[in-house]
Symmetry: C2
Subunit: 171 residues, 2 copies
């Protein structure tokens, strides 16, 4: 389950002149233990760490998220409004994709191997190196459709599933 053990992370970082600090290790661990399909924003990660007794500053959280995304260890997700979310960037063949309802921000996940093939084709054509490849489908969910979206939907109606920004909580 854990993709990055202490040493592979260390190498990954050292190779770039970065260091493996306890904070970075802790943060990566959180992501490794996150059930598939969950993802965290900077703030959520910060609060989660705090709730676990880990005292890592919010700046460090932001800096770590950036670092790990730029390296390709994490992937940055743009699901609903507000903040970015992050999750582990699994080996290519395990990457999944997202379908989001713009009404309730509910997120569905799906896999499709041909997506990576498309990404690879483009990457090859452009002569660049692929880090992450994600398909994002924005849609309107069944519940909103049943409520009569678009014309009959009360302007401030909220899906029963809508709860703030998130689609999935840390269980």
């Amino acid at each position: 389950m854990a993709i990055y053990k202490f040493n592979s992370l260390k190498n990954e970082l050292n190779q770039r002149g970065c260091r493996l600090t306890p904070q970075r290790e802790t943060i990566l661990n959180v992501f490794q233990n996150l059930p598939e399909g969950n993802h965290l924003s900077a703030e959520e990660l910060y609060n989660f760490l705090k709730s676990q007794g880990e005292n890592i500053s919010l700046s460090t959280v932001y800096r770590t998220l950036h670092l790990m995304s730029n390296i390709g260890i994490l992937r940055e997700l743009e699901l609903a409004e507000g903040h970015k979310h992050y999750e582990l960037n699994l080996p290519r063949n395990h990457q999944h994709h997202h379908l989001i309802c713009l009404q309730c921000h509910k997120t569905f996940e799906f896999n499709d191997e041909s997506i990576l093939k498309i990404g690879n084709k483009q990457v090859e054509k452009a002569g660049v190196e692929l880090l992450d490849c994600q398909l994002t489908v924005r849609a309107v969910c069944m519940e909103a459709l049943q409520m009569g979206w678009p014309s009959l939907l009360p302007s401030n109606w909220l899906c029963s599933r809508y709860h703030g920004e998130k689609s999935g909580e840390l269980s």
Copy 2:
């Protein structure tokens, strides 16, 4: 070139209990005249409008961008760090996708018809209605690779192409 004429936009809005105001029309026009491949953030749109002598408040810009994205007239892009960008959500068969270098934020566009097919399959399976379907590929560009990314890349090196957040300016 103009997808939405006055009346189709009006219908699109009225159908949802929204009104066609001069501000909304002006903003849509900006997007319709934006060369393909360009996209604007809220701030950029606001400044552009100002430069054209249009006095539309920043709040209205934000409110309009949200409205139009939720309706499916605009699509929200998550290219590089910082702010969201928006562009016209062209008819399905003209949608394009993005490849972004995480080092220089340079954006390449590409088309691939099979992507929409994948999106449609998922949308059908989930019983939702598709609004937008975009593949985002994050990568490291050739210039960074030539500089020796990852190991040899000076930590604060910037691609020659890097210029702030944007990949393309309003010409």
